[in-house]
Symmetry: C2
Subunit: 250 residues, 2 copies
DNA sequence: GAGTGGTCTAGACCACTGA
DNA sequence: CAGTGGTCTAGACCACTCA
């Protein structure tokens, strides 16, 4: 009773059939799908095979399932999407431009109240503060102002950041398990304008990011991009699943 | 031989044990995991149970699998994250503020070259152009400039957009299957400054979004937010999986 | 109470590929 | 060629919940 040739797995075919019925509108939102037993009979396979497929559809948000009631085509999701943010070196290289970075300043000190709040620790905690300029084809691409919690990452004290920017170095040492981003626009103050070689007052894109490893805050990084810099993202539904990650355009 | 009480599924426990060994560093990147048979024996369960778990870890990017070679802890992923962008009404309500929108202008016409390029259609295509102001507690929250391809969504001609903003209405009619975002910062020109009630030249956050349904471009929308507006997102690794979607903060 | 999804078992065959 | 992952089967018990 086992299939001889199986070039394409059974569950792929089943998934495609069900997805097609849903996105085509043949099964409109709210429509009840056949039960797992019925589907198994219809496709001539074991119940567990269709079970895995339908569970996958549910995880992707295409259907919702309720015991005893059955499986239903989900209502179209609220307009919601996800935007991928890549590391700066990979962004620059994806643009076909040469990447370089330089450490503008470095200071080891106790966190002042503002820094402590950014990091989510108490004032006085020992930190490493870095200012890094990322360049694309030598032109300023982004200004990075980072503070690192030396309690979480004491290895940073001995690191010169000659080869790798702090972000990549930290990611290799302590990959973040939790992160929080705040993205906003702001007018360049004189300091930022000078660093990024743009006019004072011109619009900039800012990404404030706090990262945890396990329960401990590791770092806070403030990235400031010239305003014309774009975050680009492509998406593919259904289920809000992503097709391609974001590139970038100057 | 079946477990009597199963308050927490077996696979959850197994997944947690494996995840923990990976993120804690007990199994460093490159480490080879026990084979499925060994794991099944170790956990005292069927091979398929651990197989599903490890397949899930692989999908999440925590491990990589090669036939005959085995399963290995993956290298830390490049620093990369996803940012959720919610619909404006839900963003406003998530802030605990009252939501209201008004249609500022509406025009049905043939696309000029610029609009045609935004929409990715040829000039002359019949479009509906809308300007919508979204308000939070009556204060301007975002300016929406939208063009709708009337070839794709002819129903829009008859819609007054009294109850629902165009985004939500379109999403219900033709949920997007593909989308492309461009996010940037810009200085408010006089028109935007007037609409958003902000000073001319102050920084704004812009999201240009083009949406497809199937193969056809349905709409292009340009959202402009006052600069102090924030896009907020929380993430939880491992595997880059999301814990909570983005809220927002003024 | 009956039917649904959720989970699990103890096998099996296969394709692939590194030792 | 032996061991791995990838898939599948034909059962099973359970929790839940709606009719």
């Amino acid at each position: 009773m086992t299939a001889r040739a199986r070039p394409v797995p059974r569950y792929v075919e089943i998934r495609e059939r069900l997805e097609s019925a849903i996105v085509s509108g043949e099964w409109p939102p709210g429509h009840r799908l056949p039960s797992e037993m019925q589907l198994a009979e219809e496709f001539g396979c074991a119940r567990m095979t269709v079970s895995k497929v339908v569970a996958g559809l549910a995880e992707a948000g295409l259907v919702t399932r309720r015991r005893r009631a059955g499986t239903f085509v989900a209502r179209p999701q609220p307009q919601e999407t996800t935007l991928r943010i890549h590391s700066i070196p990979s962004e620059v290289r994806a643009l076909g431009r040469s990447y370089r970075f330089e450490v503008l300043s470095r200071s080891e000190r106790n966190a002042d109240p503002a820094e402590a709040e950014q990091l989510g620790v108490r004032a006085g905690t020992l930190i490493l503060a870095l200012e890094v300029l990322h360049r694309a084809d030598e032109a300023p691409f982004a200004l990075e102002q980072r503070i690192i919690n030396l309690k979480s990452a004491p290895e940073a004290r001995a690191e010169a950041f000659d080869d790798e920017p702090p972000g990549a170095w930290l990611q290799a040492l302590l990959p973040w398990t939790d992160a929080e981003h705040h993205i906003l626009a702001l007018n360049a103050d004189p300091a930022i304008a000078a660093r990024l070689d743009i006019a004072e007052g011109s619009a900039c894109l800012r990404d404030d990011r706090r990262s945890w490893h396990g329960g401990a805050v590791v770092t806070h990084v403030r990235l400031t991009y010239p305003g014309e810099r774009r975050l680009v993202a492509h998406f593919h539904a259904p289920g809000g699943r992503l097709k391609t990650g974001g590139g970038a355009a100057g």
